[in-house]
């Protein structure tokens, strides 16, 4: 056998073994691939079914989401409108705020001015109050002094009237004594006439008073109270008249005189047409 033949035989054997190994591996791998392909096809079909279901769900979800998006867009539009309105309102309020700030500054300045004026007026008022207080004190002192002088004048007038009455009584007593001397009588009657109990005094011409009470005394005489007293220069035994309108009602002689109240006894009343004395009747000075 030729060496080339031998070499080819060996080479063919080697190639045959190599080819057999490659074929075994190839067929095994091809079978595995076929199996995997079938599995993957099944998975792909399942995935497609699942994808279809998911697509349906996705479509529903998408539809609902689109509806929600539409609602949200409408809400967004409304919110945008509200935002614009609120922004406009905010700008307006800011402008108002600035205007109010300016007014506030103006008012604060005016308040400061008014405060300064109030302080100045307070000082003026305080000074005026001090002056008024001082003047009132001076006026009170003057009034007190005037009251003292008035009391002094009243006392002196009373003393003068008493002196005049005493003088008159003494003159009457003197006349009586002269008559007695001329007639040769005793002095008892003279003493009785000179005691001055029935004599009355003249009330001040400026007297204007009112009856405050009318009562009857134990001896059935009428007693009246009037709202005038020593402050009105009244004294006991002064004679006053009670009038109502233009009608004279009665004459009263004062028996008790206080500061602002006096009590008198009715000595003479109008015979007819006068009526009883009532509270509120006018009291005037009477001629003796």
């Amino acid at each position: 056998m030729h060496i080339l033949t031998k070499f080819l035989v060996i080479l063919a054997a080697v190639l045959s073994v190599l080819l057999s190994g490659l074929a075994i591996a190839y067929t095994s791998n091809a079978d595995r691939l076929v199996t995997e392909i079938s599995v993957e096809k099944a998975r792909a079909s399942e995935a497609q079914a699942l994808s279809a279901a998911s697509a349906a769900d996705l479509a529903r979800v998408r539809e609902s989401l689109e509806q929600k998006i539409g609602a949200l867009e409408s809400e967004l539009t409304q919110a945008t409108q509200s935002y614009n309105e609120l922004e406009t309102e905010n700008r307006r309020l800011l402008a108002d705020n600035k205007r109010l700030d300016l007014k506030e500054a103006t008012y604060e300045a005016r308040i400061d001015d008014f405060s300064a004026q109030i302080d100045a007026f307070s000082k003026i008022v305080e000074d005026a109050r001090t002056d008024v207080t001082r003047l009132q004190n001076e006026q009170l002192k003057s009034i007190s002094k005037e009251i003292d002088l008035t009391d002094r004048i009243n006392d002196l007038e009373g003393q003068l009237e008493v002196a005049l009455e005493t003088n008159r009584a003494l003159q009457e007593q003197l006349v009586g004594l002269q008559d007695q001397v001329a007639q040769g009588g005793t002095g008892t009657t003279i003493a009785a006439r000179a005691n001055g109990r029935d004599s009355v005094l003249r009330a001040p011409e400026s007297l204007r008073a009112r009856i405050t009470d009318v009562q009857k005394d134990v001896d059935n005489s009428v007693m009246v109270s009037i709202n005038a007293g020593t402050n009105d220069l009244l004294k006991e035994r002064m004679k006053v008249n009670i009038v109502r309108g233009n009608d004279w009602l009665a004459s009263v002689v004062l028996v008790r005189v206080d500061l602002n109240e006096s009590i008198g006894r009715v000595t003479l009343t109008k015979a007819t047409g006068g009526g009883p004395i009532e509270i509120g009747d006018l009291v005037l000075a009477a001629d003796l």
């Binding site: 056998m1 030729h2 060496i3 080339l4 033949t5 080819l8 035989v9 080479l11 063919a12 190639l15 045959s16 190599l18 080819l19 190994g21 490659l22 074929a23 591996a25 190839y26 095994s28 791998n29 091809a30 595995r32 691939l33 995997e36």
Partner: protein
Amino acid sequence: MSQMGMQMPGRRRQTTATPNVYTGLLLASVAALATAVVFVALAGMKIGPGGDVMGAFKIHPPDARLELKDP
């Protein structure tokens, strides 16, 4: 004895071997086998694990995930 260069008497005359028709047939078969090996190796490289020449002789593990080289 022949290895020692000794010529034994009475032996048949030695003839020279020459290529004959079988040699040609073997040559054709070797060429076909080589071509088949190349083609099968190329195809085995595509579906074998690893993607190289030796991957054509290997088998994918039964429990492992099937992985191929990107074409």
